[in-house]
């Protein structure tokens, strides 16, 4: 037997041995049901519209017939900032139709909405601050139909200064907040699409120094 033929026979024997030793997968498999639970995060979208309805603006807290709303130069219909304009120390104000939030989500459980101040109420003139929780408040409003009946005396909730990590937040750069722990939600939805309408109140302390103040209010929406 030639050397080449010997190697051919050896190779054939090895191949035959492997074919016998290795069972075919279809023979070894056991049919069974495998349930895979695949959790996904919801798709959440949100739009924010300041000064969302005709008649937006500030009115001082007053019993009886309400004055016509006014606002500062940075407030424009459907945009800009919530600008109370000129206010007096030791006086309370309501800002009507301040912010509309439209939140939609694919999460059937709905969405939690968080709203916090990125900082305290900052006086650009002398770099002092007023605690935001004693100055800027929110309360629910209407879409404009029916008309908003809130006044500067209506019950309102103070904004809290966030404990999260703030980025941006200068006068011209919007603030964002990175949360490790979320605060209590200010509102929630049951699912689908929802609109939230907010008025703001400003309670100016009697000792507030003269100056131009600002603070960023950051809203966060996340599936439950």
């Amino acid at each position: 037997m030639s050397t080449g033929r010997v190697w051919f026979v050896v190779a054939a024997l090895i191949a035959a041995a492997f074919a016998i030793a290795k069972p075919h997968p279809s023979v070894a498999a056991v049919n069974s049901t495998v349930n895979v639970k695949w959790n996904t995060e919801a798709i959440v979208t949100m739009t924010l519209t300041p000064n969302y309805y005709t008649g937006f603006g500030q009115v001082p807290a007053k019993i009886g017939t309400q004055p016509a709303p006014t606002h500062g130069p940075n407030a424009v219909a459907g945009g800009g900032s919530v600008d109370f304009g000129d206010v007096l120390a030791g006086t309370n104000y309501l800002y009507k139709y301040a912010v509309q939030l439209n939140v939609s989500s694919t999460d059937s459980n709905g969405v939690n909405l968080y709203g916090e101040g990125a900082a305290d109420f900052f006086n650009q003139t002398n770099s002092t601050t007023i605690p935001i929780s004693s100055a800027v408040y929110w309360l629910t409003s209407t879409s404009g139909t029916p008309a908003d009946t809130n006044t500067g005396f209506s019950a309102a909730v103070p904004f809290q200064k966030t404990a999260g990590m703030v980025s941006g937040g200068s006068f011209s750069v919007p603030a964002t907040i990175a949360y490790t722990v979320y605060p209590s939600p200010i509102q929630s939805t049951a699912g689908g699409n929802a609109n939230f309408y907010f008025d703001y109140q400003l309670h100016v302390p009697p000792t507030a120094a003269q100056g131009d103040y600002f603070v960023w209010i950051v809203y966060t929406a996340i599936g439950k």
């Binding site: 949100m46 300041p50 000129d86 206010v87 309102a156 909730v157 100016v204």
Partner: protein, 245 residues
């Protein structure tokens, strides 16, 4: 009475009315608010009285038994797991938007006529106070805040009241504002607490705190018993103080 005498009497009366009216009318000089937040913890669950269960099983309402070992129903091996492209979508965890609040504050010479200070003894202006309570239990806060009148006027009147009942963040009334009692006193507490009037419920009127001359500071003790049925949460109303002279 002659016609001339009657005419004279009418003229005298007409002249006297404005004088008397002027003496009795005071104008509003200052009005402030203190935002009151009631943070409600649910009432504790009712406990069943009686001795702890002893050797008898009669009082045992639930029992569990631990087995010495557990045997799994089966062992499974996954040969492979694959996902079909196109069925999974990159998701966004959260959405964030922000809005700026601006104000240009001017000094107000009348701002110090009427002020609220010292929330829970903390010095400084007091615009907002939070009171933690347990539903169904009475909570008392001594000198929760102070109301100060600072004036040289020799005759003034101070009114107070809540503007609304207590509401949650969605504007829904949760419980009656008259459940909040106050003991507003200058030097020593008065012997009893009285419920705040609620302006929106009680005919649009405030209640009188009192009258005074020149400077005076009031301590406002608060007392509240939130019904046990009120859900956990935070509820708000504005206590309003108005100064006249």
């Amino acid at each position: 009475m002659s016609k001339r005498v009657r005419l004279s009497l009418w003229l005298l009366l007409a002249a006297a009315i404005p004088i008397a009216g002027y003496a009795g009318i005071q104008q509003q000089r200052g009005q402030i608010q203190v935002n009151i937040e009631i943070d409600v913890t649910p009432a504790p669950l009712a406990l069943r009285t009686g001795a702890a269960p002893g050797g008898s099983g009669e009082s045992i309402v639930a029992r569990s038994r631990m087995v010495a070992f557990a045997r799994p129903a089966g062992i499974f091996h996954a040969e492979s797991l694959s996902f079909v492209p196109g069925d999974l979508v990159a998701q966004t965890a959260a959405q964030q938007k922000s809005v700026r609040v601006d104000a240009e504050v001017s000094p107000n010479p009348n701002a110090t006529l009427l002020t609220s200070n010292n929330c829970n003894g903390t010095s400084g202006p007091c615009n907002h106070i939070a009171i933690p309570v347990t539903a169904g239990q009475t909570t008392t806060v001594t000198c929760a805040y102070q109301i100060a009148v600072t004036t040289t006027e020799t005759s003034w009147t101070l009114d107070h009241g809540l503007f609304t009942d207590f509401e949650n963040g969605s504007g829904t009334v949760a419980f009656d504002g008259k459940l909040l009692y106050n003991n507003t006193h200058a030097a020593t507490p008065i012997p009893y607490y009285t419920p705040f009037v609620v302006f929106s419920d009680d005919g649009g009127v405030w209640a009188s705190v009192g009258t005074g001359i020149q400077d005076k500071t009031y301590c406002v003790d608060l007392q509240i018993t939130v019904p046990a049925s009120v859900a956990q949460g935070s509820y708000y109303s504005n206590a309003t103080y108005t100064l006249y002279y």
